[in-house]
Amino acid sequence: MAELTYVQAISQALVEELRRDERVFVIGQDVGMFGGAFKVTKGLQEEFGEWRVIDAPLSEVAIVGGAIGAALVGLRPIAEIQFADFVSIAWDQLTTVAAKQHYRAGTPVPLVVRLPSGGGFSGGPFHSQSPESSFAHVPGLKIACPATPADAKGLLVSALADPNPVLYFEHKHLYRRIKGEVPDGRFAVPFGKARIHREGSDATVVTWGAMVHTAAEAAEIVAADGISAEILDLRTLAPWDREAVLGSVAKTSKLLVLHEDVRTGGFGAEIAATVAEEAFESLDAPITRIAAPDTPVPFSPPLERRFIPQVEDVARGLRELAAY
């Protein structure tokens, strides 16, 4: 066990997998000597050379399309999109080609796309988005959103072992803010298994990514008022752990769904709808969704704070749920 930051855990997974399996390679903008915009790939090109750590042109279609092709013929590409926002350019490659390939042609596409996502540092409308919900609606894709250093590593290992295209959303705001114990050596965190970040009995908070930590702070605050919140970190949105959510709701009878992406049509709606369908009898209060308002991500700090769900918002939501 070592204490690593979130970004160190990702880098460690990359270097270990590159060493372990020569089919693994990394491709993206500035990922070579420069080490990537967030230095996640720092040092890799020195060790593995320019054909395993490939500086691509400013070409998201070529990067993702190229990675799909390499995956088809047996390699294990890890494509880095410099900011998750830019994946909008490769939307077609991912949804049209990668997602439908196995269904139509039976060939697996063992592809990982790394997507630094999320806001919190005035990145503005094009460097702060959390596009995971959009992709969670597309059959054929898998989606991981680690919240802790251990999961960052273990989910990346699983993503690479998966025979399907995986979008791996790493939250930029966690890179250097979050530290945690990470088991030594190779270990896999399975997809589709939620993690109980905090146990509780009065209400369930279902969330993922950086919001896990926002929820944890809020839970700490309301604990002082005697409210016991259970925090479920989904870890992956596709597949997502319905059983864990339904199980926790069966226990607490109250549900708060929390995400950083905008509210309407966000993945929180799917979770809320599923619980409304399947745990109708066990709910003691209306489901609460807390998410960003339906706007682009604004740049200026007071606006961005208004946009991204804050600890106080979640605490308020929990208090209202508890009081219902």
């Binding site: 279609v61 047996g74 490659q93 049209t96 080609v97 042609a105 898998k142 072992a161």
Partner: protein, 348 residues
Amino acid sequence: MALAREAEPVGSLHEIREAGLARDDLLTIYRHLLVTRGVEERGHILYRQGKIPGSFYTGRGNEAAAVGVATAMGPHDVGAPLHRDMGVQIVRGVEPWRIFANYMGRAGGPAKGKDGNVHMADDHLGLIAMVSHLPAVMPVAVGCALAFRIREEARVAVTWFGDGASARGDTHEAMNFAGVRRLPVVFVCDNNHWAYSTPSHLEYACDRIADRAQAYGFEGVVVDGTDVLAVYREAGRAIEKARAGGGPTLLECETMRMEGHAAHDDASYVPREMLEAWAERDPIDRFRAWLREHAGLTEGEEDDLRSDVKRLLEDAVRRAEESPLPEPETALEGVYAEPGELDVLHFP
């Protein structure tokens, strides 16, 4: 300003031998041309009989371009042919009955009814299934070439696009990346002068699409796409150059879409004279004449060939019709691959 090289027609049998084809190979090419056209002609009939759901496309006029390029490919090369490139499927060995089964949405088609038309692929034959979004598979084929380069394999990727699809950004990103990294890939443009109802001058404004190769730092070649041997020779040069580390080539095959965009389209927007002029250059007739003149093709040989192909296609249609429609519940299967599937070698 002409930038691309204009390929010469192919002349004598001697020249062809130098390009690596024996007489038997020539007969095989001829057979592939006949099967290619035959599959599409039968398909068209099946479509009119209501046996093929959805829409129906043919590559009439493009047979030589498709067969010529595919013949030049090596067994471990990969290809990403499109809706006019039936010849590639045939040369690579996709059995006609499976093509009919795919058309008809039968369980025995490569797509098991999940996709139709010529949207299918047998990866063990080195073929990537086309998607409708043109030409979204071009960057994917470049990715195959990237993999070959990374693994230092002597394999080449071949990828197709049309005159219309040349307008899409994907062609640019694919060719640019391939040029920058000198990847072993050949870009084949089937320039059949029409993109659905849209003529070339509304799709691009350069003289030749192949002229664009210079924008990506490699060679462009224009070849008469109705001359199967010229196509074969130029494709072979490009493929072997790529295999030898010489980087990509853009090969433009000039052909004509001799039918409507799809079965529902009577192509009344195409000038009759244009069709008539191109009918004179029918790729199969041309090759037949060449074989008679240069390779001593006899009536007897031809009759044998034709009846052989006829039998093949009749059997194929029968077998396809015997293939059941898929069970409804199979619609829910196969969205995701299972881990074990990675143990199989795909695209060997």
